[in-house]
C-alpha cells in the first residue's frame, strides 16, 4: 500500500502501457478477451486517480517542491544532461488527470464494436492514454515533450487506419500540423535548457529563475503557437474538423475530450510560469483570439451539414471561452477557464458518443437526413437534449458555471470583448436548438421509423457523463476547489511579475 502511495503518479501513467503489452500477447481472434482486458487496464488508473483525488491537499499553492506540487516522484534519469524523471501534480493538472482517467474507460466501452485489427487498436489506444497521462503529470520539460510526442503517434495511426473515407488526408494533416507545433516547442525547450544557469530541464527551476532567458517575446510566441495549434486557436484550427470527421467515435472523443485541453494546459503550465511578464503583455492578444474562437466557431458550426463537424466546430467555440478565461488574470476568469476545460471535456465526450451512436445505426451523419426520431428513441433523445443543452450553457448544468465565471472574470478587464463573447451564447443556442429540431423534432423520417434505442454498453458510457454534467452544475465544489489555490498563485504571479 505504501508503494502505491509513493509511486501513484508513475503507476497511473505506466499501467496502460504495461497493460498494452498484455493486449499484444493475446491471440488475434479473441477479440472479446482483448476488449475486456483493455477495459480493466483503463479502470485501474481511474481507481488510482480517485485515490489521488482523495489524497490531494487543496490548500497549498505555488509551483515548487515544497508548496503546491504534490505526489512528487523525482529520480535522476540522464545524469549528464541533468534530465530527471520528475512527476508531480498540482491544482492545474489534477482536474485534467481526473478527466483523462474518466474518459479513457468510457472510450474503451465506446469502441466495443471495432472489428478491424482489434489488437492493434487497443494497443495504440492504451499507448495514447499513457502519453496523455504522462503529459499532464510530467514536470520535467524533456519528459513532458516525450509524452507529448508519445501521445501524437498512436493518434495518427488510429485516425489513419480506423478512420472514415478521407482518413489519410485527415491523419496526415493532423500529424503534420501538431508536429510543426511540437517542433517549435522543442526549440524553446532547448533554448531554455541552454539559457538556464545550471543547465536544467526541471520546470520548477526554470520557473524560479526565468529572468535569465533572453528574447522572451520570441520564446513566448513560439510556445504560444505550438500550443495554439493544439487548442486549436483561430488560424490554426482547420485540422480539427477534418480529423474529427474522419476519426472513429472513441478517438474523436479522446481528441476533443482531452487532447484539446493539452494546448491550454501547456500555455498555463509553461507560458504562465516561465514567461509571466510576456503573458501579462500578451493578455489582450490572447483575449481577442479567444473571442474570435467563440464567435467564429459558433458561426461555422451553424453552417455545417455534417453533425460531427458541427460538434467539432462547437468545441472550437467552447475552447474560445477557456482562452478568454485564462487571458483575464482574475480569479473568477482563470478558475472559469480551467473549469471550462474540465466541463468541455465531459460535454464534448458526451456529444461525440451520441454522434457515434447515431452513426452506427444510420451510417451517415447528415443532420437533415434525420427527422422526428424523438418518440422512436426516447432515452437517446433525452441524453441528446441533455448534452446539447449543456453545450449551449443552460444554467443548472456544468458549462453554464464555467462560462458565467469566464464572462464575470473577463468583463472586469475587457468590457467590449466580453460583451461580444456573450453574443456567442446566442449563436450557440441557435445552432444547438436548430440541430436538435432538425434531428429529433418535426415530422418522422420514415426510414428511421424502427431505429433501435441505445444499448446497454452505450448507456453505460453516456449516463455517467450525464450525471457528472448535472451534478457539477448544481454542486461544482468537487472540481472547483481543486484549482483555487493554484489559480490564485498563478494570478498574483502574473500580476506581481507584471513589468
Amino acid at each position: 500500500m505504501e508503494f502505491i502511495n509513493s509511486h501513484l503518479l508513475s503507476l497511473i501513467t505506466f499501467i496502460p502501457v504495461i497493460g498494452s503489452l498484455f493486449v499484444l500477447a493475446f491471440p488475434r481472434d479473441k477479440a472479446n478477451l482483448i476488449r475486456w482486458s483493455a477495459l480493466v487496464i483503463t479502470i485501474i488508473p481511474l481507481l488510482l486517480a480517485l485515490v489521488l483525488y482523495a489524497g490531494f491537499d487543496r490548500s497549498t499553492a505555488g509551483f515548487s517542491h515544497t508548496a503546491g506540487i504534490q505526489f512528487i516522484e523525482k529520480y535522476t534519469w540522464i545524469r549528464d544532461f541533468n534530465m530527471n524523471f520528475f512527476m508531480g501534480v498540482d491544482g492545474l493538472s489534477m482536474p485534467m488527470v481526473l478527466l483523462c482517467a474518466l474518459i479513457c474507460p468510457i472510450c474503451i466501452l465506446a469502441s466495443w464494436n471495432v472489428e478491424r485489427g482489434v489488437k492493434g487498436y487497443f494497443f495504440l489506444f492504451l499507448l495514447l492514454e499513457t502519453g496523455m497521462m504522462g503529459a499532464f503529470v510530467a514536470l520535467d520539460f524533456f519528459l513532458f515533450f516525450i509524452f507529448w510526442e508519445v501521445m501524437l503517434l498512436p493518434m495518427y495511426f488510429l485516425i489513419g487506419i480506423w478512420g472514415g473515407p478521407r482518413r489519410e488526408y485527415a491523419a496526415i494533416k493532423f500529424f503534420i500540423y501538431t508536429l510543426v507545433g511540437s517542433v517549435i516547442i522543442l526549440l524553446v525547450i532547448i533554448y531554455f535548457y541552454l539559457a538556464s544557469a545550471p543547465h536544467t530541464f526541471d520546470m520548477t527551476e526554470l520557473a524560479k529563475n526565468n529572468a535569465l532567458f533572453g528574447n522572451r517575446m520570441i520564446c513566448w510566441f513560439a510556445l504560444f503557437i505550438g500550443f495554439a495549434i493544439k487548442v486549436p486557436i483561430f488560424p490554426f484550427h482547420t485540422w480539427l474538423p477534418d480529423a474529427h470527421v474522419e476519426a472513429p467515435t472513441a478517438i474523436s472523443v479522446i481528441l476533443a475530450g482531452i487532447l484539446l485541453k493539452m494546448g491550454t494546459y501547456g500555455i498555463l503550465r509553461i507560458n504562465y510560469t516561465m514567461l509571466p511578464d510576456m503573458t501579462a503583455k500578451m493578455a489582450t492578444f490572447m483575449a481577442v483570439l479567444g473571442v474570435i474562437n467563440i464567435i467564429y466557431g459558433a458561426l461555422c458550426a451553424m453552417f455545417q451539414k455534417d453533425l460531427k463537424k458541427l460538434v467539432a466546430y462547437s468545441s472550437i467555440s467552447h475552447m474560445g471561452y477557456v482562452i478568454l478565461g485564462i487571458a483575464s488574470f482574475t480569479d473568477e476568469g482563470l478558475n472559469g477557464g480551467i473549469f471550462q476545460m474540465f466541463n468541455h471535456g465531459v460535454v464534448t465526450a458526451m456529444l461525440f458518443l451520441l454522434v457515434g451512436v447515431i452513426y452506427d445505426r444510420a451510417h451517415h451523419r447528415e443532420i437533415d437526413g434525420f427527422g422526428g426520431i424523438a418518440p422512436i428513441v426516447p432515452n437517446y433523445s433525452f441524453l441528446a437534449f441533455l448534452a446539447f443543452f449543456a453545450a449551449l450553457g443552460l444554467p443548472g448544468l456544468n458549462s453554464f458555471i464555467s462560462e458565467a465565471l469566464v464572462l464575470l472574470g473577463a468583463f472586469q478587464k475587457y468590457r467590449i470583448l466580453t460583451a461580444v463573447a456573450a453574443t456567442g451564447a446566442i449563436i450557440t443556442a441557435a445552432y444547438c436548438l436548430w440541430t436538435l429540431q432538425r434531428i429529433f423534432l418535426g415530422k418522422l423520417n420514415e426510414n428511421y421509423a424502427l431505429l433501435p434505442d441505445i444499448t446497454m454498453t452505450e448507456a453505460v458510457t453516456l449516463i455517467p457523463l450525464g450525471v457528472i454534467v448535472v451534478t457539477l452544475g448544481i454542486y461544482p465544489h468537487p472540481v472547483l476547489d481543486l484549482m483555487k489555490p493554484t489559480v490564485s498563485f498563478l494570478n498574483n504571479l502574473i500580476i506581481h511579475m507584471k513589468l
Binding site: K173, P235, H237, T238, W239, Y296, L299, C300, M302, F303, Q304, T330, D331, E332, N335, G336, G372, A374, P375, P378, F389, L394, P395, G396, F400, I401, A404, L405, L407, L408, G409, F411, Q412, R415, T418, A419, A422, T423, A425, I426, I427, A429, A430, L433, W434, Q437, F440, L441, G442, K443, L444, I474, Y475, P476, H477, L480, K484, S488
Partner: protein
C-alpha cells in the same frame, strides 16, 4: 417552532417538491403511464404543486405576520459558488414581494395542473407534459425566490427552457418545434442583455468594494439582493462609455426583461408560443413566466430608481407595446392569438406602471392580470376542447347556449380585463393610469387611456363573435385534414367536464374579488396591497385626495364602457358592418392583421443575416484558411516536386547521362565485338601500332 424558523429550515421544500415531482414523472413516467394509466401521474404532479402551495401560504403568513423590521426570511441551503471575490449561495429570500409571487405561481399553477389533467387526457406524452410543467413551477419558484442575481438567472433560463419544451410539446408538428426554437432563441437574446447587466454590476461593485479598500464583512455575496440594496449607491457616479453606469446596467437588465416579458423589440415569440397546449399558454404565457421581467424590475427597484432615463425608457416602451399589441389584437381571428396580444398589451401596462416608479401598482396589476388572463385562457381551452380543437373564432358563435359555465366565467374575466369597476382589472389598471398621470407622464397616460378602450373593444368582439349569434361551425371549409371526422360532431358542442370548469370558476371568482385587496385610498380602501409591499418598495408620499384622481377614474371607466358598446354594436347589432369597414380600409387591415410584418422583417434581418454570416464564415474557413493550409501543402508539395524535379532532371540527369553515355558508347563498342576473331586481331594490331607511334612521338626517337 415558529413559522419563521420553519421557513428558514424547510423553505427550500417549496422548490424541492415540484423538482421531485418532475423527476419522478419525467424519468419513471413512461413506465407508470404504461402500467397504471394517466391518473397516478396527474396525482403526483398536482400533489407536488399543492405541497409547494401550502408552504407558500405558510411563507406568506410568516412574512405577513412578521414584525415591521424583519419582513424578509432567508433560507440558506448550501454555498454554491465561492470563487475569488464572487460568493453565491443557493439560498431563498422570502419577503413580501416574493411571497406574493410564489402565491400566484403555486396557486394558479395548481389550478392549471388540475385543469390539464383533464385537458391533456389521452395524449401519449401525458407524463412528459406534467414533468415539464412541474419543472416549470420549480424554475419559476427558483426565479422568484432566488436570493442573488445568479440564482435568479438560473431560474430565468430554466423557465425559458420549460417554455421551449412545452411550446414544442407536440413536436411532431414542425411548426410547433420552430415556435419553440424561436421562443428560446429570442429569450436567449434577452438573457444576453441580462448577463451583460449582471457582469457590469458585478465588476463595478467589485472594483468599488475591493478596489476602494472599504472595510467589508467576511466575503460578501456581491450579487445578493440584500447586499445590493445597501451598496448599490456606490456605483452612482461611475460612467461607462459616457453614460451613467446605473442607466447602462438598468437598460441591459431591461433588455432581458423585454425578452422574457415580450415587450416591443423581443415580443415576437409570444404569439407563436400559442402553438403549445392551452393550459401552458395560460400558466406560462399569461400568468407567471411573462411576469418575470416585471418581478425583476420590482426586485431591483432600488437600482432602477437610481437612473431616471432607464425608467422613462421602460415606461415609454411599456405604453407603446400596450397600444401596438392592442391594435393587432383587434383584428386577430385565432382566439389564442387575441389573448396573446392582449397579454402583451397588459404587460405593457405593467411596465408602464414600473416605469413611472409605481412599482406596487405594477405588481398589483400583475396579480390581477394573472387571475383574469389565466381564466380567459382556460376558458379558451375549454372552448377549444368543446369545439374539437378549433381555434378560429370565425367558425364559432352561439356557444352561450352550449357552454353556459364557460360563458359566464369568460364574461367575468372579460369585464375584469376591460376595467369595469367592481372587477379587479379596474382597480389595478386605474392605479397605474393615475400614477402615470400623477408623476407627470401625461402623454403616457393618454396612450394608456386609449389602450383601455381598445382592450375592452377587442375583448367584447371576442365575446360577441364566439358566444353570441348562431353557430358557424358548419361553414368552416373542411380543407384542413385534422378534422375529417367532425361531421357527426357538428352540433355536439357540449360543456367541458367539471374538472375543467372548476378551476375556471375559482379563477373567475378571484378575478372578480382580487381588486379589493388594493382599493386606492381615493375610494376609501386601505390599499392593503401597496401597504403590504411597502418594505420592498419603500414609502411613497401618501397621496392626498387629489380631485384629479376621480376625474381620471371616470374617464377610464367611460373609455372601457365605450369600448364595450362599440364591440356590442359592431358585432352584435350590425354584424355585417365589420366586413364593410374592413373592405374600406383593406390595406390598413391587411398590415395590422399581419402583425405589421414584424416577424417577416426580423426573419429577413436577423435570421437570414446570421445564416449569411455563417455561410461566409464557414466558406471562409473552408476556402481561405484551408486554402492557406492547402496552399502551404501545395507549395510544399510543389517545392518537393521542384526539388524532386531538380533531383530527377539534374542530379539524376547527370548520373543517367553518364550511365547513358556508357550505355551508348557500350552499344557502339558492342558493334566492335562483332564476334569475328580477325576483327579483334585487327584492332589489337592497330592499337599496337598506335601505342608504338605514341611512344615514339612522345619520347623523340626510340
Amino acid at each position: 417552532m415558529s413559522m419563521k424558523t420553519f421557513i428558514e429550515q424547510y423553505g427550500f421544500m417549496i422548490l424541492l417538491s415540484p423538482l421531485l415531482g418532475s423527476a419522478i414523472t419525467g424519468l419513471a413516467g413512461r413506465r407508470i403511464q404504461k402500467k397504471y394509466g394517466a391518473r397516478p401521474i396527474g396525482l403526483i404532479a398536482c400533489g407536488s404543486v399543492l405541497v409547494s402551495f401550502i408552504i407558500a401560504l405558510a411563507a406568506f403568513a410568516a412574512v405577513a405576520g412578521a414584525r415591521e423590521g424583519e419582513k424578509t426570511i432567508i433560507c440558506i441551503v448550501f454555498n454554491w459558488l465561492s470563487v475569488g471575490d464572487l460568493r453565491a449561495d443557493v439560498s431563498f429570500l422570502f419577503d413580501p414581494l416574493s411571497s406574493v409571487m410564489i402565491l400566484i405561481v403555486t396557486g394558479i399553477g395548481f389550478l392549471i395542473h388540475a385543469y390539464s389533467t383533464e385537458y391533456m387526457k389521452g395524449d401519449s406524452g401525458y407524463y412528459r407534459y406534467f414533468s415539464y410543467l412541474n419543472l416549470f413551477i420549480f424554475s419559476m419558484l427558483l426565479l422568484v425566490l432566488g436570493e442573488n442575481l445568479l440564482l435568479m438567472f438560473i431560474g430565468w433560463e430554466g423557465v425559458g427552457l420549460c417554455s421551449y419544451l412545452l411550446i414544442s410539446f407536440w413536436f411532431s408538428e414542425k411548426a410547433n418545434a420552430i415556435a419553440g426554437n424561436k421562443a428560446f432563441i429570442v429569450n436567449r437574446v434577452g438573457d444576453f442583455g441580462f448577463i451583460l447587466g449582471i457582469l457590469a454590476l458585478y465588476s463595478l461593485l467589485k472594483d468599488k468594494i475591493f478596489g476602494g479598500g472599504l472595510v467589508v464583512p467576511v466575503a460578501p455575496s456581491l450579487l445578493s439582493f440584500r447586499f445590493l440594496a445597501e451598496n448599490v449607491h456606490l456605483i452612482n457616479n461611475i460612467d461607462i462609455f459616457g453614460v451613467s453606469a446605473a442607466t447602462v446596467i438598468c437598460l441591459c437588465l431591461f433588455v432581458g426583461a423585454t425578452g422574457k416579458s415580450a415587450q416591443i423589440p423581443l415580443y415576437v415569440w409570444l404569439p407563436d408560443a400559442m402553438a403549445g397546449p392551452t393550459p401552458v399558454s395560460a400558466l406560462i404565457h399569461a400568468a407567471t413566466m411573462v411576469t418575470a421581467g416585471i418581478y425583476m424590475i420590482g426586485r431591483l427597484n432600488f437600482l432602477f430608481s437610481m437612473s431616471g432615463t432607464s425608467l422613462n425608457v421602460i415606461a415609454t416602451i411599456g405604453a407603446a407595446t400596450a397600444l401596438f399589441a392592442a391594435t393587432v389584437g383587434c383584428v386577430q381571428n385565432d382566439i389564442k392569438k387575441v389573448l396573446a396580444y392582449s397579454t402583451v398589451s397588459q404587460l405593457g401596462y405593467m411596465f408602464l406602471g414600473m416605469g413611472v416608479t409605481a412599482y406596487s401598482s405594477g405588481i398589483f396589476h400583475l396579480v390581477t392580470h394573472a387571475f383574469f388572463k389565466a381564466c380567459l385562457f382556460l376558458c379558451a381551452g375549454s372552448i377549444i376542447l368543446g369545439m374539437h380543437h378549433e381555434q378560429d373564432i370565425r367558425w364559432m358563435g352561439g356557444l352561450k347556449r352550449y357552454m353556459p359555465k364557460t360563458f359566464l366565467t369568460f364574461m367575468i374575466a372579460t369585464l375584469a380585463i376591460s376595467g369595469v369597476p367592481p372587477f379587479s382589472g379596474f382597480f389595478s389598471k386605474d392605479e397605474i393610469l393615475w400614477q402615470a398621470w400623477k408623476t407627470g407622464h401625461q402623454g403616457l397616460w393618454l396612450v394608456g387611456f386609449m389602450t383601455t378602450g381598445m382592450t375592452s373593444f377587442y375583448m367584447t368582439r371576442l365575446v360577441m363573435v364566439t358566444f353570441y349569434g348562431e353557430n358557424r361551425l358548419h361553414l368552416r371549409p373542411s380543407t384542413d385534414d385534422r378534422h375529417d371526422h367532425d361531421d357527426h360532431h357538428r352540433d355536439g358542442v357540449k360543456e367541458s367536464p367539471s374538472s375543467v370548469t372548476m378551476p375556471l370558476v375559482i379563477l373567475a371568482f378571484f378575478s372578480g374579488v382580487a381588486g379589493f385587496i388594493g382599493v386606492p385610498a381615493a375610494l376609501g380602501g386601505g390599499n392593503h396591497f401597496e401597504h403590504f409591499l411597502m418594505p420592498v418598495f419603500g414609502h411613497h408620499a401618501v397621496a392626498h385626495h387629489d380631485p384629479m384622481e376621480y376625474v381620471l377614474m371616470f374617464a377610464s371607466v367611460a373609455a372601457s364602457l365605450g369600448g364595450i358598446g362599440a364591440g356590442v354594436f359592431l358585432y352584435r347589432i350590425r354584424p355585417e358592418l365589420p366586413d364593410i369597414i374592413v373592405s374600406k380600409i383593406k390595406m390598413v387591415h391587411r398590415i395590422v392583421y399581419n402583425k405589421y410584418f414584424v416577424d417577416e422583417i426580423y426573419a429577413f434581418l436577423f435570421v437570414s443575416g446570421t445564416m449569411l454570416m455563417t455561410r461566409v464564415f464557414a466558406s471562409f474557413d473552408r476556402y481561405v484558411i484551408d486554402l492557406f493550409v492547402d496552399l502551404t501543402a501545395h507549395v510544399l508539395r510543389f517545392k518537393s516536386y521542384i526539388s524532386g524535379a531538380i533531383d530527377r532532371v539534374i542530379v539524376d540527369g547527370l548520373v543517367n547521362g553518364v550511365a547513358e553515355s556508357f550505355l551508348f558508347s557500350g552499344s557502339q563498342l558492342r558493334k566492335i565485338q562483332t564476334g569475328r576473331i580477325q576483327a579483334y586481331v585487327m584492332v589489337l594490331l592497330f592499337l599496337v601500332v598506335l601505342g608504338v607511334s605514341l611512344v615514339v612521338i612522345l619520347k623523340g626517337e626510340v
